[in-house]
Amino acid sequence: MFKKILIVTLFIFYSGNSFASDKELLKVDWSFKGVTGKFDRSSLQRGYQVYKEVCSSCHSMRLLSYRNLGEKGGPEFSITEVKNIASSFEVTDGPDSQGEMFTRPGRPSDRFVSMYPNVEAATAANGGAYPPDMSVLVKSRKGGANYIYSVLMGYDDPPQDLKLDEGVYYNKYMDGNKIKMAKPLMEGIVTYSDGTNATEEQMAKDVTAFLTWAAEPHLEARHKMGFKVIIFLIILTLLVYFSMKRIWSRIDTEV
């Protein structure tokens, strides 16, 4: 009897444990979701383009290095493309032998250049709202990729009774429905170098996929290893199970 109550309790425990009034998020059938999830290289490359041309004016990604763009499991730009991307940015280096800081073209080993020198400057330049660094943004929000995508697509006219301050916008999926970022993605704001049509939805999908990779660059390797490990463990478990049965058969009475 109590085992039944236990099961019901566990069921309640697991089904829907959110208490904030979050609207049901937009769901996308991401290529990287699920046990066989993989990233779509071209989507990641387009996503990087969206980040570079739209988002990076406010959002840093300081935990990423340009060489990551060429590493396995990511956008997998060629080594020349990576060098070109890196050298298109000016990086601060130094001090030199005179004690001065100087700038030089970026190298693959450099970290992504930030628009602002520090958090305070970024906050001040954006009406007191800090544009979060996006290196692990996808992992730092409940709902992950679906949440990011929903916020990007969730801009709408505010309901009649809601008065918004200057610089505050209405978003259906943001906690509290208010966001200080103006809608970033408009159709055609980016001209994709691979010719894909840059609709809002396309850009939102691509940049979300890119951000997911940025937060989890080893996702594919992790899935691959996981498969091998679990198959291996199942085989070993079966072998050990039969060994166990064989050993225990030596006793006449099994309790």
Partner: protein
């Protein structure tokens, strides 16, 4: 008895298979713990360094840091070059021709680490117009070869190449 033998063989096979597969698992598990101590990706990314050599006057040298160690880049004068080239191999503790140690004879690129016990030799010192290591008195010539003192071999030449006339890529 035949049946008993068969049973033993099956049991042995089961146990042997279990042990073997288990051992494979244990070995595969150990590898990540060992490999995490190898150079990580950020360290490997800094494995090469590009140096601008356009500002170096003849007879002068610069020292750059590469993989945590000093690299001497010397722009040799004609006198230093011919001195290096004219030494006969019999005189050398570690026989190496100067031509084999440089890509362009004007430029000597070598690891500024004494091959005795690792100190950094001083430039333009010593009895052979090259480098002198103050730690235990090793003298190197204008090609960085050991001429006198306890160092066993010539200073090491790292992997490098001329990206263009003004830039050397080390590593």
């Amino acid at each position: 008895m035949d049946k008993g033998e068969k049973k033993t063989n099956r049991r042995d096979f089961l146990f042997t298979a279990s042990y073997t597969i288990g051992a494979v698992g244990v070995g595969a598990t150990i590898w990540p713990f060992v490999d995490q101590m190898n150079p990580d990706r950020s360290v490997k990314a800094l494995a090469t360094t590009e140096v601008d050599i356009s500002q170096i006057e003849p007879g002068k040298s610069i020292t750059v840091l590469w993989r945590g160690k000093p690299v001497f880049i010397k722009r040799r004068t004609e006198a230093e070059i011919s001195e290096a080239q004219s030494v006969s191999l019999e005189e050398l503790k570690h026989p190496e021709k100067d031509e084999d140690r440089v890509k362009k004879s004007e430029w000597l690129v070598m690891l500024g680490v004494c091959t005795h016990l690792g100190c950094v030799p001083l430039s333009d010192k010593g009895e052979y117009n090259g480098w002198f290591c103050p730690c235990h008195g090793s003298h190197y010539d204008t090609s960085g070869r050991i001429r006198k003192g306890p160092a066993p071999v010539n200073m090491e030449i790292p992997k490098y190449e001329f990206v263009d006339n003004n830039t050397i890529k080390i590593g």
